[in-house]
Structure formats: structure tokens, C-alpha cells
């Protein structure tokens, strides 16, 4: 199979994010747009070992989404990768939909017990309230390590999320248990809902703080596929140390009027804005 053109895949992911959010009429745009490249790389560029026809395949690499408000980029990529029909993307945030506003994973013994909707294939964890996914990822990595399983556990968090104390509890526990199979990616886009992260609550020297916990830290450009490839090589070099990747991205990437504007953190495009955004994504910047 020829290697897919990842920039093109990422562009399609962005287009589908815009469409889904415009139809939904609510949701978070900036972070999802900013991380389309790593999602393209994960699901189409060999970043993750996964099987869309067998979402529970035991050998799969796990992707734990800790910043649940990035749901649109996860859903869009899963649909494009064949986990469920693309047409279902238009049900995002609608009643009865499997595409909940924030991802819900539920282990059901009986189908539909206690929930009004079914569970979306490919979603590994429930997230929304920030900070929780990091701990879940640590638990999954620990389970894998103790069983001698060889898959990676990836976790995607956001920079604003690092303000949650729980994340720091999780980092030091990952170091204590020498979880070399954990790769924790922080989407460093410097926005959160109220403004710029550096103004709302500065994170200090994040690299030094993470290193201070005992993690291996790498800084990359989240829009550079060569950088993403390097993460994998680098991760293999440190079998006993959990990895943190500070991934610098542009929030709202690909659409000029959204880029680097914190106001796009938690709102969707209107129909008109969506047309403009799609045009820019298709034809390039005006």
C-alpha cells in the first residue's frame, strides 16, 4: 500500500472537523484543528498500531485522550480510518448519538445498560474534566508492563490541563513505576478557554518541570511530520522512562481567522464561517 500523503489527510481531517462542528452548532474548534497533523500521523502514518475492524485488538497501541474537548479530531480521524461511517459525523453532539460532546467509553456487560446512546468504536476512555486521562493512561501502561505486553500507551493532553494538580500526581507515579511504554503528548498551543495560558496561569518552564519529575522530554513542532517520526525513534531509546512530548501547535491551524485566537477554544464556526474556512482549507490562504 502506498504511504498516504499525510498533509492531505490532515487537511481532510480539518475539513471534517469544520463541517461536524458547524452542523453540531457547539463544540471546541481550536485544539482539534491544531492536532489534526498528529492524528493523521497516528492513524494513517503508522504512528499507532491499530485495526479499525478490530477496535479491541489486544496488540493495539492505546491512545488515551485526556483533553476530552478535542473529541472532534478523534471522531473525525476514527471515521476516516474506517471505525464507523463518515456520515455519522453529522450526528456530533445530537441526542442519541454515539458522538458525545465529550468522549464516553463504557464497559458494558449488557448492551445499553444505563446509557441513552451506544459506545463509539475506537474510543479508549471517558474524558472531559481535565487531568483524568493522564492517570488512566498510567494505569493502562502499568497493566501492560506488568503483563509483559509490548504495545505503546499514548496520552494526549493539553497545556491548560497541566494546571490540574492530578496530572503531576500522575507524572511522578509513571516515573516511579518506570513506565517506558508511556508517551504523553502535551498539545502546547498556549490557549485555554479564558485566554492565553501564559496569562491565565503560566506553566513556568514546563520542560524543566517535567524533567524534574524524572520524565524524558522532547520538544517538537506538531505540524512537522518528520518531527513526529522522530518521537518514535526517540521513545525506543528510553525503555524505563516515561516520555513527555511538548508538542508546539498553532490553535485553529489551517484557517487564518481562527489561528492563535483563544476565542476559538470553545466555539464552533457558524455556517458562513465554515464556508470560508473550508474554502481556505481547499484553496489555501487568500
Amino acid at each position: 500500500m502506498p504511504k498516504p500523503d499525510l498533509p492531505l489527510v490532515a487537511r481532510d481531517i480539518r475539513k471534517n472537523i469544520i463541517r461536524s462542528l458547524a452542523i453540531a452548532g457547539s463544540g471546541h474548534t481550536a485544539g482539534a484543528m491544531g492536532t489534526a497533523d498528529i492524528f493523521a500521523w497516528w492513524y494513517f502514518g503508522g504512528g499507532l498500531r491499530h485495526r479499525s475492524g478490530e477496535p479491541s485488538w489486544e496488540g493495539r497501541d492505546r491512545l488515551i485522550l485526556s483533553c476530552g474537548h478535542y473529541a472532534p479530531v478523534l471522531y473525525v480521524t476514527l471515521a476516516m480510518a474506517g471505525y464507523f461511517p463518515l456520515a455519522e459525523l453529522s450526528s456530533l453532539r445530537k441526542i442519541g448519538s454515539r458522538l458525545q460532546g465529550h468522549p464516553v467509553k463504557r464497559v458494558e456487560l449488557k448492551k445499553m445498560s444505563g446509557l441513552g446512546h451506544e459506545i463509539l468504536p475506537g474510543v479508549e476512555n471517558t474524558s472531559g474534566p481535565l487531568g483524568q486521562g493522564v492517570s488512566v493512561a498510567v494505569g493502562m501502561a502499568l497493566a501492560a508492563k506488568r503483563r509483559g505486553e509490548k504495545h505503546w500507551v499514548w496520552c494526549l493532553g493539553s497545556d491548560g490541563e497541566v494546571q490540574e494538580g492530578q496530572t503531576w500526581e500522575a507524572y511522578i507515579s509513571a516515573v516511579k513505576y518506570e513506565l517506558g511504554n508511556l508517551i504523553y503528548v502535551i498539545d502546547y498551543n498556549n490557549i485555554q478557554i479564558t485566554g492565553e495560558v501564559s496569562k491565565i496561569m503560566p506553566l513556568g518552564n514546563l520542560k524543566k518541570r517535567l524533567e524534574g519529575c524524572g520524565m524524558e522530554v522532547m520538544e517538537i513542532d506538531g505540524h512537522d511530520f518528520e518531527d513526529l517520526e522522530k518521537v518514535k525513534e526517540w521513545a525506543g531509546l528510553h525503555p524505563k522512562t516515561p516520555k513527555a512530548v511538548i508538542m508546539v501547535t498553532t490553535p485553529g491551524k489551517g484557517v487564518g481567522f481562527m489561528e492563535n485566537n483563544y476565542r476559538w477554544h470553545g466555539i464552533p464556526p457558524t455556517k458562513e464561517q465554515a464556508f470560508d474556512a473550508l474554502e481556505e482549507l481547499i484553496r489555501g490562504k487568500k
Binding site: 463504557r106 464497559v107 479508549e124 476512555n125 471517558t126 492517570s135 494505569g139 493502562m140 497493566a143 506488568r146
Partner: protein, 311 residues
């Protein structure tokens, strides 16, 4: 009367875990720096590969437990109730309950019975905040032997659960021959004049009162060890028979077993109901027996409330 053997419910829990460890390799324990006190130290020594110590970090404890459960383990997440579910409730709600994972939250040192540590450590709200979560089982063993049974049964039942334990040694007063089943109340004593329903070791005091009053007042004593799902059927049947219900627990009367009982009876079988527990107050330091006396939960007070309801 024969001497009643004394033992803490946390000890029954610890013993059950050890035997579960031998039988099931999916049983894991995550603990937040309270291994000795919560009686999981021995489990950790015997099964180091199934023990995780996270330090003083209850939020991470619960999230990490959820991760282990997502990989197919049955995980007991263990701390004092004031800290978990106290501090970790959001993690329990989202990472465990909404996800319907096989994590058993074990909260120790509950109620006024904690004693000298005082109000900060006397969890009096834990039943309320756990029972409100959809799908969450809430189990309050009455004595150490029952704690052992509850731990074993919960490990066999898939799904999120809360197990409420206590620090102090209390009497083994529940007849071991009685069947123990999650969600099914035990009738510890048959009676026809008044129903006393309760949970936890404090119910032992109610049993003493029932014995003392026997011959004059016929007291039915129900052990509602599972607060959720509550055994409404047994409760309604008894209330219908006696027409008077007294509820007792070492917890705030608001939202706990008393709340659950009031919800059932007011809708299905309105009878005279009084609830004993901590009445919207904070605990304080002291010996458990002195605190029960001061807060109106000792046998003497229970007797008074029974007499009052019989008027």
C-alpha cells in the same frame, strides 16, 4: 450473654483480599499511603505484582485504578473515605462510574467511630455522595465477618462499587448462618411493633436495645448492608407490618441510608419514620463511645427513640 468477639471491619476486608489474591489473579489493589491502616499491607507483600502504591494522591489513585480496570482487572482502590471518595469524587464519577469500570472504591475510617482524629477524618458524607452516582453499588458491612463476605461478593460482581469500612473494633453480632447477598437486606431479628433499619457496626447497638426491650416491645431489626441498590421490598414489607420505622447510621442523616429509606417509604409506604445519625453537624475528637453518647447515637439514645415512636 456470651462475650461478643470484637474486630474491625477493615480487618475483615484485609483477610478477604488475601484469600481473593490466592484465587483470582485479576484482583489488584491500589493504595494511597495507607497500606497498614487499611489492612492491605499483607496483600502487597504476597502479591507485589498486583499492588500499586501511589502515595498521597487519591485522584491519581482512582484514575490509575480505572486504567488497570480498562485492561481487565478487578481493582480495589483503597484509602480513608474522607480522601476517597472525599477528594477523588470527580475521578470516581467520570473515570470509574460513567465508564462502568470494575473498580471498588474502599473508604476506611468512616463515621464518628474514627474517634480522636476528629472532624477532618470522620467521613460522614460518603454514602450520600456515592449513592447519587448511577450504577454505583454502596455496601456498608455491619461487622468484620460481613466485611469479608462483602469484599468477596463484590469481587465477583462486575461494576463500580463503594465499600464503607470502619477503624474501631466492633462486635461480631451478625449471625454467620444468615445468607449474605449484595442488594438483599438481612432481617437480624423478627418483630411486629417497630422496624429498626440500619447499616454498619452501629446497628449492633440497636440489637442490644431490641434484646433489652424484648417482651415489652417487639423490635424488628433490618441490616440494610447494601444502601444501593436498596432492598425496597424487604423494607416496605416490614414497614407495612410494624407501621413505625427508625433508621440508624453513623453518617449524616441527610443523603445517607436515612435519606434512601425516606425516599422509598415516602413514595411507597408512608409510615411514621425517624432518622438517627449525625444531624447536620461536624464531628469532633473523642472516644467513639463518648461521641456516640454526645451525638445521640448510643444504645441509650436508640432506646429513647424507640420508646418515643411507640407512644
Amino acid at each position: 450473654m456470651t462475650e461478643v468477639q470484637m474486630k474491625a471491619t477493615r480487618d475483615g476486608f484485609g483477610e478477604a483480599l488475601l484469600s481473593l489474591g490466592e484465587k483470582q489473579n485479576k484482583v489488584m489493589v491500589v493504595c494511597a499511603d495507607l497500606e497498614e491502616s487499611m489492612r492491605v499491607e499483607e496483600f502487597g507483600k504476597r502479591f507485589p505484582e498486583r499492588m500499586v502504591e501511589v502515595g498521597v494522591a487519591e485522584q491519581n489513585m482512582v484514575g490509575l485504578a480505572a486504567g488497570l480496570a480498562l485492561e481487565g482487572n478487578c481493582v480495589f482502590a483503597v484509602s480513608y473515605a474522607a480522601f476517597s471518595p472525599g477528594r477523588s469524587w470527580d475521578q470516581i464519577r467520570v473515570s470509574v462510574a460513567l465508564s462502568n469500570l470494575n473498580v471498588k472504591i474502599v473508604g476506611g475510617h468512616t463515621g464518628l467511630g474514627v474517634g480522636p482524629d476528629g472532624a477532618t477524618h470522620q467521613a460522614l458524607e460518603d454514602i450520600a455522595i456515592m449513592r447519587v452516582l448511577p450504577g454505583m453499588m454502596v455496601v456498608v458491612p455491619a461487622d468484620a465477618y460481613q466485611a469479608r463476605q462483602a469484599t468477596e461478593r463484590l469481587s465477583e460482581l462486575y461494576g463500580p462499587a463503594y465499600l464503607r469500612l470502619t477503624r474501631q473494633k466492633t462486635g461480631l453480632f451478625v449471625d454467620k448462618a444468615l445468607k449474605f447477598e449484595i442488594g438483599k437486606a438481612q432481617i437480624l431479628r423478627q418483630g411486629k411493633d417497630i422496624t429498626v433499619v440500619g447499616c454498619g457496626p452501629i446497628l449492633g447497638e440497636a440489637m442490644k436495645v431490641a434484646e433489652k426491650l424484648a417482651g415489652r416491645v417487639s423490635v424488628e431489626v433490618i441490616n440494610m448492608h447494601t444502601v444501593k441498590p436498596i432492598d425496597a421490598e424487604t423494607l416496605i414489607r416490614s414497614a407495612k407490618k410494624t407501621g413505625r420505622v427508625l433508621c440508624i447510621e453513623d453518617h449524616q442523616v441527610t443523603g445517607g441510608l436515612g435519606g434512601a429509606v425516606a425516599e422509598v417509604l415516602s413514595e411507597k409506604m408512608p409510615v411514621r419514620l425517624e432518622r438517627m445519625g449525625v444531624a447536620d453537624k461536624w464531628g469532633e475528637s473523642g472516644l467513639p463511645e463518648d461521641l456516640y453518647e454526645k451525638f445521640g447515637l448510643s444504645a441509650r439514645w436508640i432506646e429513647g427513640r424507640v420508646e418515643k415512636l411507640m407512644l
